[in-house]
Structure formats: C-alpha cells, structure tokens
Amino acid sequence: MTSQTDLYQQVILEHNKKPRNFGKPAHHTHAAEGFNPLCGDHLWVYLTIDSGADGSEIINEAAFEGSGCAICKASASMMTMALKGQTTTAAKTLFTEFQSLLKGELNPESQPHQLGKLKIFSGIWQYPARVKCAALAWHALNGALNNQKTVSTE
C-alpha cells in the first residue's frame, strides 16, 4: 500500500465529514466511553439492545459522539451502521473479525468473514501507529456489551 487512496479512501473521507448515527440518543440501554489520551481521540458509543422473540439480544440502535481523527470517526460511523439489527453475538463476532483485520491476520479477499464494507480498513496494519485509531470505537462497543464504562486502546 503506497498510495494514499488506499488508506484515505473516499468512503472513509465521506464518513469523516458526515458521520452517520452521530450524537447522543435520548434513549439507550448500553454505553461506554473510549479514550486514547496519547492522541486525544475521544468518543462515546450508545446502544439500544432489546430482547428478540427467540431470546436473543438485538442491537436496534447504535450511535456515537466525540472527536478524533478521520480514521477514528469513519471507523465509528461505519461500525454503528454495521451493528444495527445485529444480535449481540453477531456483534461480538464482528468485533473479533475486525481486530484480526486491523492486525493483518485476516485477509478479507481470501478468508471468510462477515465484515462487509468494513473490510475497507484492511491494510491499516501497515501503519501501526494508526491501528488504535480504527480500533477505538470497537473497543468502546466491546466495553458497552460487557458493562465496562471506559476503555482505551493505548
């Protein structure tokens, strides 16, 4: 990956500029704060989780607010989109797969995954200093799902 179009793709730039599901919702059942004190990326993730007919837990709403770099904001924005309608079990699978993607351990072209559009963050492993930016919202999600109030990726 030598061209900037690979990391700063239009999709990421667009989500940075117009983040989806941005702002604190009036109602939520789960929340957690993510903070990287070293770079100043700071966000909150809010979830509304309801019980499904079969006893599973469904994430009906996902939102975030905060400030950070483009990678951090775009990752958070795309995460909230990917989470809506998913069971918490599926969300945990996504979390694990996304971590593997960031570490360069999951090749989205040759290995099975549920990441969909999130695979755009593949290749970031070549910029180790920026991995934590893409990971922050996901660690906050993991915190929210596990009733942990504050997380940091540093």
């Binding site: 030598t2 900037q4 940075n16 770079c39 100043g40 770099c69 990678i71 200093a129 920026r130």
Partner: protein, 421 residues
Amino acid sequence: MTTLQMTAPASKTFSGHTFSVDSVRQDFPILATMARGRPLVYLDNAATTLKPKSVVDAVEKHLLLGASNVHRGVHYLSEKATAEFEASREAVRAFLNAKEKAEIIFTAGTTASINLVANSYGSMLKPGDEIVISAMEHHSNIVPWQMLCERQGLVLRVAPINDRGELLMDEFEKLIGSRTRLVAVVAVSNALGTVNPIKDIIDLAHSRDVPVLLDAAQAVAHMPIDVQALGVDFVAFSSHKLFGPTGLGVLYGRRELLDRMPPFLGGGDMIKSVTFAKTLYADLPAKFEAGTPHIAGVIGLGAAIKYVQTVGLQQIAAAEAELLEYGTKRLKEIEGLKLIGEAQHKTSILGFVLDDVHPHDIGTILDQEGIAIRAGHHCTQPLMDRFKVPATARASLAFYNTKHEIDALVAAIIKVQRLFA
C-alpha cells in the same frame, strides 16, 4: 532608491567558513534514500537528528576493532577505549565550555539527567520547598519534579506563557520566592520552537540564590551553550538530538553543587572502596556514573561534536534561521493553517494545525508522500491544553534541509486540504 538584485548563491560564507547544503547532505547517506516509494524528506529533527557517516564510522570502529570495557582494564584495548571515552568527555567539556572535565556526567539521556538531579539534589530538599518550571516543559522536565514533590512534600510552581508561546517573565519572577530551591526550565521548546531568555532567567534566579537547571535537549544542536558565560548550574541534553547515538545523555553540573549531592545510582565504577560496613564513593564524575557506560555511544557523541564543530554552530544556526524564515512565510500563505508557536525568538520548529483535519491524518498523508513529520502532543500535554488543541503537526528543520523540501511540505499540506475538502 536603488534596488539590489539578489541571486541565490549555491553556498554561503559565514565568518570565513563555507557552508554548502549540497555538501553537508553528502554526510548523511539516509537523505538519499526513499520512504514509501518517494524520496525521503526528513522534517522530524526535533524528535531525533540524523547521524552523519563520521559518527557511525566512529561507533563501528569501536565495536568492531576496539570493544572493551573502560576505566578498569589493564590491557591495551581497555586503555585505548578509556582514552577515547575520556577524549569524548573532554570534547563535551569544550563544547559547553565547562571549567573542568569532571563536571561532565554521562547518563542515559536528557530524561535520565533530569531524574538524577531530581533524585540527588532533590533528596536534600525539605517539605514546603518549591521547584519552578514553565508551562512549555517536556514531560521529562515535569514528571521527575512531580514525583519529587509527591515523595518529599515539595510544591511545583508553573510559570505561564502567552499566546505566541513566550514565557511571561513578570509572572516567572513572581514565582521565585523564599522557598524556591530550583528553577528547571527548557532552553528551547520542542513543541513551539521558542528560545527562552535563559540568561535573564539564570540572572534572576541567581539574584535570589536559586540554582537553575536547563533542559537543553532541543537547544544544543542549534545554538552555543556556554555554561560559564551563562553561569548555569545544571544542563541536561541527549546525544541523539546532537547527531549522536541514542541511549546517551549528558548532565553538566557545577562542581560546587555536584560535590554536595549524594550519588543517585549505586554500583560498580562509582566507588572508591566497598566493605559490608562502609562504602566510600568515587570522586566526580565517577560518583554519578554507576555501571558500565554506553561506551560506543560516548565515542559516537565525541565524533558528533567534532562534526558539528567542523560544520560550525554559527553556520548551522544561520542556515536554519533562513529555513525557518522561508518555512514560516510559506506555511502562513496556506489558508486554514494556524501556526502553534510564534515567538519572536525561535529555532527552526514549525508546529501547526489545519482546520477540520486531525494532526494524525496530516502525519499519515505526509508520510505517504515520503515526508517525515511528527504528529501528536510531543510529550507536552499541558502545553497542548494551553493552546486548546489535542495535538499538533510539527515540521522541525535541520541545517541539511532545503527550501525545496519545504516546498514539498507545502504541496503535501495543500494535498491534505484538498483530500479533506
């Protein structure tokens, strides 16, 4: 009125010496390499300076052909290494114009030097005593004092700065009171480039019998530090910001103070004699140099000082002043860019932020263009808070940089802005 036609000379002459950027660039082989498929543009000199070939050669020569321990061997290699090691100490002494070689103590870096003073000199202080620092200190000149304050019930006072990043000397003066036991201040800010009025600070502190420690990490490669002319009590700096190896630093201390101070680290080399009943400490500088030192590093630092003296600190300062002026002018032309640090008296550090682009995104995109800058808080979080930014992007220039490289920086910043528009 006559208009003077100026043509850009290939080389400039200062005080009889010739300085040619093309020629000095040959001394740094890394400058001819590529980064991410582009020619490297190295603008991160405040983080660490590049190493000239003569320094690497000196280190290599020692490791390959001269490796042995210093100060205790009775054989040829050890005596040769000791002589080279001590010749470097003499080079540092001359570089700082210290009165005697024994006042030069080798440490692991600026941070280690400051921790030595905080622990050793600090151990002689009493609850309620005060240490004065400034708002633009690096964490390495904040945290050791906070730890001392916590350990011994001291009070840390912080002198404020203005929006240009200059010390407010009136406020500074007010903080030096009857309980002040040390002023510890940075000579050049690593985040802002501000050159502090160190002579004024030292004179002010001394008029109240308060010793002064200078954090000269960012200063030594850019301006002469004459410890006798300044009358300064302690000076801390790192080899790696002076074109030398990493893992090595210097503490200059006035003998009068060093003699009174207890050792910091105990162990080999810092003793005269050891029995289980009583240990007698060695004289300066060995008293503060426990353990086998970074011998290759010290020899490398000697070569680095020689290199700086060959190029000439005046020539270096003049070349960097020209780069700073050009870089400041070019960056100010960019709409949406704000310089952080606009002191009247600056070294060649250009800290900046862009509207709506996080410094880390600037850093990564510039990196993809082969341009190395630093993005972050530069180990000065309280300073970032002062300017209400989470981080800045920082281009820091050295004498081997060129205006062409500054043009490349400007073009890349404009590219960032287009990408984020």
